[in-house]
């Protein structure tokens, strides 16, 4: 991507993102970065705010009535199953159930450390914060025990190296990585790519103090990641971190 004089590459990228002009891969990468880099997110929001009055020019188009009914069915328990509540009310109270999906069952037995594929590209981020010396690794498996992905956290580089064991096709969806420590609610570590080996940069703040025994999980979410900050879609794999 060519830059502009007087603009840093990040400013240019943030502007392109806010305008919506990035092709798919670059847009996804920028979205992932917005989740872990508050400064970059602020730049994108700055440009979004600048451009947003343009939307005033757009003519209203009345949607068909069925759309509201579908929305109501999703948000209201009285109008159909699968209701979702605003996150303020803490709908996410089914954590024990969710954790039970992979953790109590045979999936744990399938936990295995997977040797890193030497062809994995070098990690991108070099953020370091009070790095503990050990590498932590987890094999994430589905409820049937089938390994999906190996994740290794490299504290020196501030990245999680992801090595898929199975290729999944979740068209129109994103995979999101979560960490669960003890009884705390899941914390998002961002949207990840699970189609090919890659290094996923994670802010040192998000992951500092991570200990063996913490659980990593992957859920399937709408494009861009969970809209609520907690897993909303099916959890496809879980695995416990252990020292390499």
């Amino acid at each position: 991507m060519s830059g502009e004089p007087d603009m840093t590459p990040d400013e240019t990228l943030a502007m392109d993102m806010a305008l919506g002009a990035l092709p798919r891969t670059e847009r996804k990468a920028a979205e992932v970065r917005m989740r872990s880099d508050a400064g970059f997110r602020a730049q994108v929001e700055h440009w979004q705010a600048l451009l947003s009055p343009l939307a005033e020019e757009i003519e209203a188009v009345p949607p068909p009535a069925g759309v509201w009914q579908a929305v109501a069915a999703e948000i209201s328990p009285r109008q159909g199953g699968g209701a979702v509540a605003p996150e303020k009310r803490g709908l996410w109270n089914s954590l024990p159930l969710w954790r039970g999906l992979g953790l109590g069952g045979p999936a744990l037995a399938a936990l295995a450390l997977v040797a890193l594929n030497p062809s994995v590209p070098p990690p991108i981020s070099v953020a370091v914060a009070e790095a503990p010396p050990a590498l932590l690794s987890a094999s994430l498996a589905g409820a049937d025990g089938k390994p999906l992905l190996a994740a290794t956290w490299d504290p020196l580089r501030g990245t999680v190296v992801l090595t898929p064991a199975t290729i999944r096709d979740d068209a129109g969806k994103d995979a999101e990585l979560w960490v669960i420590e003890g009884d705390k609610p899941p914390r998002s570590l961002g949207v990840i790519a699970i189609q090919a080996p890659n290094a996923h940069a994670i802010s040192s703040q998000a992951i500092s103090g991570l200990q063996p025994g913490a659980v990593l999980a992957i859920s399937i979410e709408p494009i861009g990641g969970s809209p609520t900050g907690l897993p909303t879609g099916p959890v496809i794999a879980t695995g416990k971190l252990s020292t390499v």
Binding site: M15, P53, A85, P86
Partner: protein, 185 residues
């Protein structure tokens, strides 16, 4: 109470789980958001899916809305635009149409006044766009309204993509500078 304040109040009630307030919010804003989505995804069924997804997201995230940072319409239109562009990118490229059609700006006639909650911001953006070369302004509008990539727009305009990028980016910088200048006065 102004339209913007009413919408913000409705969102606050929705964040507390008030479905009636959310229904009211939907009724006042859905036409606008559907307009935003349809420009990017002209296929109606697809646009309706995205609209549904957008309102479920608004319901879930209502507590995050901060009226001191953006108006309710701006906040929700940004969500709608992002979701529509995500969907557009997920399905690959789209047929292109001539710029004369695409750049055509909807007539601003009777929008419900509840929706014109940042008329000054809009006027300021339009004044800034009016200063640009008309094709430059049309290119910015095409990217913004239709969710086109630089590559797609460059093909449609028959210019090298690097030229188009500079054109659009410099145009936006000029807009920003003009808007800052007018805000200072």
């Amino acid at each position: 109470m102004s339209g913007a304040a009413e919408l913000a109040a409705l969102l606050a009630r929705a964040a507390d789980g008030d479905e009636l307030a959310f229904r009211d919010f939907y009724d006042r804003t859905a036409g606008k958001l559907f307009g935003v989505i349809v420009r990017i995804l002209p296929e109606r069924g697809e646009a309706e899916d995205v609209l549904q997804d957008v309102y479920v997201t608004i319901w879930r995230k209502a507590a995050e809305f901060d009226p001191s940072r953006a108006s309710a319409v701006t906040w929700t239109a940004t969500i709608a635009r992002n979701r529509a562009i995500d969907r557009l990118r997920a399905k690959g490229s789209r047929p292109t149409s001539p710029l004369e059609d695409a750049g055509m700006v909807a007539d601003t006639a009777p929008l419900a006044d509840t929706l014109i909650d940042s008329a000054r911001g809009a006027a300021s953006v339009q004044a800034a766009l009016a200063m640009l070369d008309p094709r430059q302004a049309a290119a910015i509008r095409s990217c913004y309204f239709e969710g086109l990539t630089y590559e797609e727009l460059a093909v449609r305009e028959g210019v090298p993509v690097g030229t188009l990028k500079s054109w659009v980016r410099r145009g936006i910088i000029k807009m920003r500078d003009a808007m800052h200048a007018s805000a200072v006065q």
